[in-house]
Symmetry: C2
Subunit: 345 residues, 2 copies
DNA sequence: GAAAATTAAACAATCGATTGCGTTAAATTG
DNA sequence: CAATTTAACGCAATCGATTGTTTAATTTTC
């Protein structure tokens, strides 16, 4: 069955014997329309159930009130909270959210970027996929002066807005904490090194070791492709079966950290006495696992809100695309729980 | 700075000395355009980086390829997986997803529904909020023959599509399982009773008791407003301090179930020996908590995909809005873990 | 070779809201 | 009271893609 056609300002105009332009202006309290007319029009609009056609308005104005969001996987704790923050801040200002996920596949990411562009979003917020090395698919936005905000996983050199946490310092502090707890041989579960977040976390880790006079042992650094629990289990097993196993592990995410804890327990290794573990993200599971996982807070909702603010700021002020990457760095803090708290420390 | 205006079919037409209509048809391989022309047009479009303006097309066709999604909170495991399923199925068919969350506030839900309507979505997928009792804000869609799919938390009597699981049977089976494990006094953490899911779960629980010759003890049924972990803790404490505490708890969600487990452990009560616990949803935390939580699978991704299919089916076939609620009921299954497995059972 | 049929492309209206400019009538001014 | 403002509203173009209807050119048919 055909979709019924909707009630428009033309219908309203005909009904009230006004011109469509008067209706349009009346509905938005234009000063050149009399109070009386405005009242009449609004009343009739209400009665007839008039609803504006945003598509038409966007087309005419050449600007939608829709923000595109491009992420890897919606159903991950950090991402879903990020989106939640984006949505809250956006809907408060009357903006909509168009969402697309790449499932960490580069081809999808490119296609999604194109789709969002075609939908004429007024700005785009993106967190890069694991496979992403080139970011040409974001240039179309910049060319049209549509603001791009990269969040969390950001490219190295793209003239845009970025919203990140200080991964380096967070990792440095996490590692230092392990050292303070008496760990001498600290392993690291690193993520894909072409992504800034994992690169920075690794650097923070190595620098903390060096600062404390501990030599970096490459055999203790396990670089993973996806930081999945399977990879975490494999890595933990391998590490612990080595001649000189570690007494601490700093994991680049909570998934692998929890996996490490479960694996260690299965092996009968005491946490944190024999091996202390610290993760990253503060996912819900981190406070449930036993012993509870020490980790680094990741202010997802706040980051999301900030992303939206960046977009709105650009759109409302009609700023030009930043000439350089304009970074916002949010604070994180260590969350110390049982998995890294040694009784005698 | 102003947004640059984009390259349109008019620009292309001028450049190639064709009319805009020819360009439009050529781009979609219309039969009345010669192969040669099609090739020329497509080549030029590619070179010039032409991108269609979906807003214009949608306006003209009076139908967007955008599906609206209205949920309570994006950052909840079930919801985010649901959205993930919706998105995957939609993007595969070239449809976009517009998301809005109500934060379980009725006023927001109404506003979001309105916003999605104004955006001219081609269909809407919704899961009702805790406060929602009236669903008039969805009637505008039906009136325009825009398909509405309610998922999980669905209204009792709305002529639309619904995608649900068989909460009654799942609850019945979960409760029966506890009985089989030797539980005699089974408590129930119930959710808001105006929502079908919680109502059905409660009914499944009571019917299982009755079927097994166990009297329903109202004092063992705790009805919660939001099924939060705080409520779970309070309820658990209260129950266990009563004269005749329960020896089993069937919780309407995993959040309260995990909360119950943690509280019981804190009280020094053995799980499952003294109290067996079973939850609902199979959230990630359920397999991490110790003892691991028995629960009911909730096929979130699959449900999301099905929701999208319902929308597309309607839109593509131009079906009329269903005269009655057209239900899709998905299977769930018990996931038996340690929290309900008694050694001697 | 003229009429009919087919092919290829142009014309022009349309979707609904917006807005610069023009018009009319009422109000103000000197 | 004529001249000028001001107030209130209408006209018509515009945004970009789509599509029913024509038109023009080419091919086929007898």
């Amino acid at each position: 069955m055909e979709k019924k056609k909707s009630f428009t300002i033309y219908d309203l105009a005909r009904k009230l014997n006004y011109s469509p332009s008067t209706i349009s202006r009346a509905l938005k309290n234009h000063h050149s329309i009399s109070e009386k007319t405005i009242k009449i029009v609004k009343k009739a609009a209400e009665e007839e159930g008039y609803r504006p056609n945003i598509l038409a308005a966007s087309l005419r104005n050449n600007q939608s009130k829709t923000i595109g969001v491009l992420v890897t996987r919606i159903n991950r704790p950090f991402i879903s909270s990020l989106i939640s923050g984006i949505e809250n801040a956006a809907s408060k200002e009357g903006y909509n959210i168009l969402i697309s996920q790449s499932n960490d596949i580069y081809k999808n990411e490119v296609a999604s970027a194109k789709a969002l562009f075609d939908s004429r979003v007024c700005g785009i917020i993106a967190s890069l996929g694991m496979e992403t090395e080139s970011i040409n698919h974001f240039k179309q936005f910049s060319k049209m002066n549509i603001p791009v905000v990269f969040v969390d996983r950001v490219p190295a050199d793209f003239k845009s807005y970025t919203v990140v946490i200080d991964n380096y310092t967070a990792a440095f502090n996490a590692t230092t904490h392990l050292i303070e707890q008496g760990c001498k041989r600290i392993a690291h579960f690193a993520g894909a090194q072409h992504l800034n977040v994992y690169q920075d976390r690794k650097k923070g880790y190595t620098d903390a070791l060096i600062e404390n006079g501990i030599a970096v042992d490459e055999s203790l650094i396990i670089t993973m492709k996806t930081l999945s629990s399977e990879e975490g289990e494999t890595a933990t097993t391998r590490l612990m079966q080595a001649a000189t196993p570690p007494d601490g592990i700093f994991c680049s995410n909570d998934t692998t950290a929890v996996s490490a804890i479960l694996t260690l327990k299965k092996m009968g290794i005491k946490i944190p006495e024999e091996v202390a573990v610290i993760g990253f993200n503060d996912d819900p599971i981190s406070s449930i696992v036993e012993p509870a996982l020490s980790t680094v807070s990741h202010p997802a909702i706040e980051m999301g809100e900030l992303c939206t603010q960046r977009i709105l700021q650009h759109v409302l002020k009609k700023d030009d695309t930043p000439k350089i990457a304009e970074r916002s760095v949010l604070d994180t803090h260590l969350i110390i729980r049982a998995s890294s708290t040694r009784k005698n420390a």
